[in-house]
Every structure is written in structure tokens, then in C-alpha cells.
């Protein structure tokens, strides 16, 4: 009977309304080993994964963006819905798993109905049973299966309860020769009318009434069902009422969190706590890492000796790895906090609270999460902007994200601020850093407002603006889940950024070491250390990097800077944090036993503009550099993602040009303005 066609593995699609636990389930089944791919020609992304080996079921699992109904409201929704019918790569699904929140039955069954009507093979994963049970209710699965006409399995994706059973059901459905494989789902437009929609809701409410049963802790299913059969009809009205009750705890918390005035105050308190805690929590760990790598680098140099490979290992590799790892604490903490906020249900509320102000400048409450993530990294932030249905608002959000002060800028600011303020006045440095964050956020808002004025020229889109967002009930975050997510997000980030930073510091090492590797100097009467020091600066002055730097020196002069900073700024275009390791390399600062940052600052204080004896780093030039970093779009990956997300080169190129030009202009104004009023 085998026709000789290569056996194709089953294709399963996972869909569900927002907040129905879809992603949690997907993560559990895929073990987070998924690939994210864009639909051809669209900015909509899907995740595809193989089901984990432990489930003993070979199949492709597709996760699609959360949808409320099968009728798209925006272009992006249309793309993801079309792909449920006929995926450009995998075709129609063998089985569709729909996640349905048990406590939201009357809303979530809408999508199920539409899917069954469109003739998909549907299996329901019923989630959040615990929330329903808390209300003293349960769902009679056999009844619900009867009324809906498909298999229903209770699952909890957070702990994996019911997942085996769910996959078993899918397997059985696929193996069943009677079931109609690869039905051709039909795009049904007929129930698109409001009247039919209302009719459908009525039917669903009717079903809900019939399947809700009381929940008791001493659950003895058979007895209970039998005993309740008669009671059911009587208690139904009561059941429905308690099912429609909001979680009382949530109501209490929202009295404060969503208070008309207090709400905003709480919002700002939460936001500022987040940012200060990122610094305070991370800084001790960061200085340990910093010390460790400074120590390693100097020891490697003294062990391997003053040779090219000794220099390569200590300056090229160890300093390079160090400048990657130093971000681990901050990124991890940020992802951790974002995860907690998301898991508790606060993020949606934050979005609601600032929808109005944001809509005034052409953004949307839904821009809030992307903007917030922008403080970690612009790349996940731009991806998060996908949840904004209005195209203009999404593009505008993506446009200003590079202005949000990402974590890669942090080490740069940390270094420059440490230069400005003496070590004893850490609190001043903290205030200054907060000011930088406020300033860059304000800048982003101003830019958005300005662009909003000219938006018709930039983004041609007529999608209407809307804000309809479910505020999920507060839940205690599961820390193992949050930790696991933070770990994976950070890993993803370092996988992306790490090789670039490391690779570039090796290239930079090469450029600063060659071609004049062993300069001849007159070393008579000087100590060995001194000779090495002079050799270093001699080697650098005749290196490739110096050639390159001297070429751009005329551009750096107006900022009061020289070619060495120029080279560092150029290398920072691969990723901003490279600036620090690049300064370290160029000023050749590996000193014995000193932590990296201290030695860089030491070297910076000594540095003079060549030929003039004038100090290179002064208050004004350092502030100029900070201003430059606030504005400049120095990140190749951001440009690449912006191109991908906006569907063309237009917006990333405008971003690159506008942000970098204004960086230069404002830095110039800052440096020369400060000098004018007598600050060196």
C-alpha cells in the first residue's frame, strides 16, 4: 500500500485568544527550542518547533500570534489567520490545538466555534482550571465535548499537567484512519455579521450554563456528577453568576493600581524602582566580574610574556570576553523584572494607564511594553511592537525604540560617569545616571511627537487607532517559570551579541597591534615595565587603527576628541558596549591587579591630545560623549531588525541618519557650549 511517498511528519497548529495560556503551553511542549520565522513578505512572525523527544511524538508544532476571532482587524492579523488556513510552508494543519481559558469559557469558545465551522480538526486544551476552581466551579468535560463536538483535555502548561494526555489525544486523532485527514478548511465569511456574532455568543452562553458544575475539594467525580445531575438545573443560575464574578483579590489590588490618580503615581514608583534596582542589584556583581577579568588579563600577560600572543590573549580575548560577560547581571535582572511584571498581570495595566498620553503623540498604550523592553535591548523591543495592531503606531514605536537607553549603553555611561565623579560620591553618579535615563526617554517622546506631525509623509497607513486590552487577573508569578524565561531570553541575547562583541574586539586588537609589532626604542636605563609601556604606545601610534583614526580625525576635532576616541566610536557601531573594551585596547590599560574600569579611567586621565599636551578627556568632552551616546544609533543588529520589522530599508536608514547626525550636532553643541561658559 505504501506509495513510496516520503513520510511526512504531522503538522499541528496551536492557536488561542490572548491570555489563554497558549505560549506557556507551547514553551512546555517545545522546551523553548523553537525557531522564529517571518511569513514571506510580511512582518508577522511565527514560531515553529519539534515536539520534545520526551513526549515520544514526532511532529511539527506551530505557534501563531494570539487571536480573538477568525476575522482579521488589521493587515498583520490577516497574515496570521490566513496562515492557519494554509501555511506557506506546511500547508493545512493535521490538528489544531486551541487553548481555552476555563474561567473565560463564554468569550474563548467564540474562536473554537469559528474554527470548527471552518472544518478544522480541533482539540481543545482547557487551561486555568485552578482559577475556575477558586470560584467553586468546575467544568463537566463529557458535557462540553458533547456540545462542542471535539476532544477536550484539561492542561496546566506551567507544570505540564495534562500535556501527555493532550498529545496522546492528538496522536490518536491523527492515527485514526476514519478521521478526515487534511480537510480543506473553508474561509467562511458568512458569520462575519454582528447579528450572527451575537447569536453565536448566545449559543455559547447556553453551553456554558450547561457545563458548569460545582467544584468540591473532596472530588469524587462519579458520585458528584450523579448527585449533581438534578441539582444542576437549579444551581446553574448561581453558577453562572459566580463564574462572571471578578476575582475579588484583583478588584482590591486594582482599587489602588488602577486608581485614577494613585494609579499613575504607583506606575512611576514601579518604573523607577525597576531602573534603580537594575543598577543597585547588578553593580556589585558587575564589579566582581570586572575585577576578575582585569586580574585574569594582567596575569595572562605576565605568564605569556610580552609577546604578540600574550597580548592577544590578555587584550584581545580576555578583555573581549569580559566586556560581554559584564552585562550578564543587568540583562538577567531586567528580563527577570519584566517577566515578573508580565506574569503578575501588571504590564497590561501599565499599558492602560499611559494609553492616553501616548496616543497624544501618535503612539498607543500597547507601545508601553516595547518601549520598556527598549531599556534592555532594542532588538526584543522591536519584536514586541508586533502586538500593536495599528501599523502607523507600530512603525512610530519602532522608530523611537533606539532612543530608549538600552543596557548596552550602561557600561559606557558607567565608565564616563565614573570619570566625572570621584569614587566617594557614588550617589551623585546615581542621580546623574537617572537624569540621563529621563533625558533620553523625554527625547524619545519629543521625537515621536515631532514625527507624528509629519507622519503622513513617513508612514502611509490608514488603520484606525484602537485600544482594547484584557487586564488579566493578578496571579502570583511562578518563580521557576519566570527564572527559566529570564535565563532563556538572556541566553538568546548573548548568543546574538556575544560573538559580535568578541569578534570585534579581536579585529580591533589586530588593528591596534599590527603592522609594527616590535617597535625599536631606546630602552637604556629604563625598567622592564616602562619599556613595555613605551613599546605599547609606539606600536599603537604606527598601527592600522591609527591610520584609520587619523583619517577621521578632522570629524572628531570639533568634539574636542582625537582619533583614538574616533576609532572607539566607529567600533561601537557594531555594538555600543564595544566602546569600553575598545578604549581599553587603544589605551592599552592592562595593568597588574587593577580592575578593568579603574585602569581605563586612570589611562583616560593621563591621556593628552597628541602634539598639544592638552588633556583629551575633560568634563566637557566626556559630557559630549554621553550626549553622543544618548542619540546615536550605534548598533548593527538594531538596524538589521528594524529593516526586517518595518519591511524595508527606508525607516532604518532614516533612523541611522537622523539619530547619528543629531548625536553629532548635540554633542558638538554640548562640548562647545560648556567650554564657552568656562567648563574645560
Amino acid at each position: 500500500m505504501n506509495i513510496g511517498v516520503q513520510k511526512q511528519i504531522p503538522f499541528i497548529t496551536l492557536i488561542g485568544p490572548p491570555n489563554s495560556g497558549k505560549t506557556t503551553l507551547f514553551n512546555y511542549i517545545s522546551g523553548k527550542n523553537f525557531k522564529t520565522v517571518n511569513y514571506p513578505g510580511a512582518t508577522v512572525e511565527y514560531s515553529i518547533a519539534k515536539i520534545l523527544k520526551k513526549f515520544n511524538f514526532e511532529a511539527n508544532l506551530l505557534d501563531s500570534p494570539g487571536i480573538i476571532s477568525l476575522f482579521p482587524e488589521s493587515l498583520d492579523e490577516k497574515v496570521s489567520i490566513d496562515a492557519i488556513y494554509n501555511h506557506p510552508k506546511f500547508g493545512s494543519p493535521d490538528v489544531v490545538i486551541i487553548t481555552v481559558d476555563a474561567s473565560q469559557l463564554s468569550r474563548h469558545l467564540l474562536l473554537v466555534h469559528q474554527m470548527i465551522e471552518a472544518k478544522f480538526n480541533v482539540i481543545i486544551a482547557l487551561t486555568m482550571i485552578d482559577m475556575l476552581n477558586k470560584k467553586g466551579l468546575d467544568i463537566s468535560i463529557p458535557d462540553l465535548e458533547l456540545y462542542i463536538g471535539c476532544k477536550i483535555i484539561k492542561v496546566d502548561g506551567r507544570i505540564g499537567k495534562g500535556v501527555d494526555e493532550l498529545l496522546e489525544a492528538v496522536k490518536k486523532d491523527i492515527a485514526n484512519p476514519k478521521s478526515n485527514r487534511k480537510t480543506n478548511p473553508i474561509l467562511s465569511g458568512h458569520n462575519n455579521q454582528s447579528a450572527t456574532l451575537i447569536e453565536l455568543f448566545k449559543r455559547i452562553e447556553d453551553i456554558e450554563r450547561k457545563v458548569l458544575i460545582p467544584y468540591s475539594l473532596s472530588n469524587n467525580d462519579i458520585d458528584l456528577t450523579a448527585a449533581n445531575d438534578k441539582l444542576k438545573s437549579l444551581s446553574n443560575l448561581l453558577n453562572i453568576k459566580s463564574a462572571k464574578q471578578l476575582d475579588p483579590m484583583t478588584l482590591k489590588i486594582d482599587k489602588v493600581i488602577l486608581h485614577k490618580y494613585w494609579g499613575l503615581a504607583v506606575f512611576f514608583i514601579i518604573m523607577s524602582t525597576i531602573f534603580t534596582s537594575i543598577f543597585w542589584l547588578a553593580s556589585p556583581i558587575m564589579s566582581i566580574i570586572d575585577d576578575a577579568f582585569g586580574f585574569l588579563a594582567s596575569h595572562a600577560f605576565s605568564i605569556l610574556g610580552n609577546t604578540w600572543y600574550g597580548d592577544f590573549v590578555s587584550n584581545g580575548i580576555i578583555t573581549g570576553v569580559g566586556s560581554v560577560l559584564i552585562f550578564v547581571p543587568q540583562i538577567l535582572i531586567l528580563f527577570l523584572i519584566l517577566g515578573i511584571l508580565e506574569d503578575t498581570g501588571y504590564l497590561a495595566r501599565g499599558a492602560m494607564l499611559i494609553d492616553k498620553p501616548l496616543s497624544k503623540i501618535g503612539l498607543n498604550g500597547r507601545s508601553f511594553v516595547p518601549m520598556l523592553s527598549g531599556f534592555a535591548c532594542a532588538i526584543p523591543a522591536m519584536l514586541a511592537a508586533r502586538t500593536i495592531p495599528n501599523k502607523k503606531e507600530r512603525l512610530l514605536t519602532i522608530f523611537i525604540i533606539p532612543l530608549m537607553s538600552c543596557s548596552a549603553r550602561l557600561p559606557v555611561y558607567a565608565l564616563l560617569i565614573a570619570f566625572l565623579f570621584p569614587a566617594g560620591k557614588a550617589w551623585l553618579a546615581g542621580i546623574f545616571l537617572t537624569f540621563i535615563y529621563l533625558f533620553s526617554t523625554t527625547t524619545a517622546v519629543v521625537v515621536a511627537a515631532l514625527l507624528n506631525k509629519f507622519r503622513s509623509k513617513l508612514f502611509s497607513d490608514k488603520d484606525r487607532s484602537s485600544f482594547i486590552l484584557e487586564l488579566p487577573s493578578y496571579r502570583k508569578p511562578k518563580f521557576s517559570v519566570v527564572l527559566n524565561n529570564a535565563y532563556h531570553s538572556s541566553k538568546l541575547y548573548f548568543k546574538k551579541a556575544g560573538p559580535i562583541i568578541l569578534g570585534f574586539s579581536m579585529i580591533l586588537w589586530f588593528l591596534t597591534y599590527f603592522p609594527n609589532t616590535t617597535p625599536k626604542i631606546n630602552g637604556s636605563g629604563l625598567s622592564q615595565d616602562k619599556i613595555i609601556q613605551i613599546q605599547k604606545s609606539e606600536r599603537l601610534a604606527s598601527s592600522y587603527a591609527s591610520d584609520l583614526g587619523k583619517f577621521i580625525e578632522p570629524v572628531m576635532r570639533p568634539l574636542g576628541l582625537d582619533w583614538r576616541v574616533g576609532v572607539s566610536l566607529i567600533s561601537a557601531f557594531t555594538a555600543r558596549e564595544v566602546f569600553v573594551s575598545s578604549l581599553a585596547l587603544i589605551f592599552k590599560v592592562t595593568e597588574r591587579g587593577q580592575p578593568l574600569q579603574n585602569s581605563i579611567i586612570e589611562a583616560m586621565r593621563k591621556a593628552t591630545i597628541e602634539g598639544s599636551g592638552q588633556k583629551l578627556f575633560t568634563t566637557s568632552t566626556i559630557i559630549g560623549l554621553i550626549v553622543f551616546f544618548i542619540f546615536a544609533l550605534q548598533c548593527l543588529s538594531t538596524i538589521a531588525v528594524s529593516k526586517k520589522e518595518t519591511g524595508g530599508w527606508k525607516i532604518p536608514l532614516i533612523q541611522l541618519f537622523v539619530f547619528t547626525t543629531s548625536a553629532y550636532i548635540f554633542a558638538f553643541l554640548a562640548v562647545n557650549g560648556l567650554k564657552l561658559i568656562g567648563i574645560p
Binding site: 480573538i68 476571532s69 476575522f71 482587524e73 474561567s103 473565560q104 463564554s106 468569550r107 467564540l110 462575519n192 454582528s194 456574532l197 451575537i198 455568543f201 448566545k202 463564574a243 462572571k244 464574578q245 471578578l246 484583583t250 478588584l251 486594582d254 488602577l258 486608581h259 485614577k260 490618580y261 494609579g263 499613575l264 497590561a348 492602560m352 494607564l353 499611559i354 494609553d355 492616553k356 496616543s359 498604550g365 484606525r464 484602537s466 485600544f467 482594547i468 486590552l469 484584557e470 487586564l471 488579566p472 487577573s473
Partner: protein, 73 residues
């Protein structure tokens, strides 16, 4: 005829119909604001926009302009 936007804090109302001339009307229906449902105003953001309603056992925030097309009895 009052709209959901005119509800006071904590006040409940029964949805009569959704004004279909509003571009968001269908999405408002789809998230569960259907005639006959009881809604309750739970909170307003600063500037009274957006507003959050309790509906079908959950909390949904919508803009004031969107709340205005939900007519209540």
C-alpha cells in the same frame, strides 16, 4: 440613551446594543460586549481614558470613544 462611558465608578449596566457605525464595533462584540451582558465600570485611567469594565468575569480596558458606542439600558 446612556453609553458605557457615562457609568459611574462601580455602577453596573446592562448592554442594550452596540453602535455599529463605530469602526471598532465588531472587535468590541468579539471580546464579549454583547447585548444582554452586565458590565460594571471598575476603573478609569487619568483623563478618564481608557476605562476598564468588568465583563464576563474578566476585566477589559477600552478607550472612551469605544465605550461610547456601547449603549446601556
Amino acid at each position: 440613551m446612556r453609553s458605557a462611558a457615562e457609568l459611574k465608578y462601580g455602577e453596573k449596566g446592562m448592554i442594550d446594543f452596540i453602535d455599529e457605525s463605530h469602526p471598532s464595533a465588531r472587535r468590541i462584540l468579539e471580546v464579549g460586549f454583547t447585548p444582554g451582558q452586565e458590565i460594571q465600570l471598575i476603573s478609569k485611567s487619568i483623563f478618564s481614558d481608557p476605562m476598564a469594565y468588568s465583563i464576563r468575569g474578566t476585566l477589559i480596558a477600552i478607550r472612551k470613544s469605544e465605550a461610547e458606542c456601547i449603549k446601556i439600558l
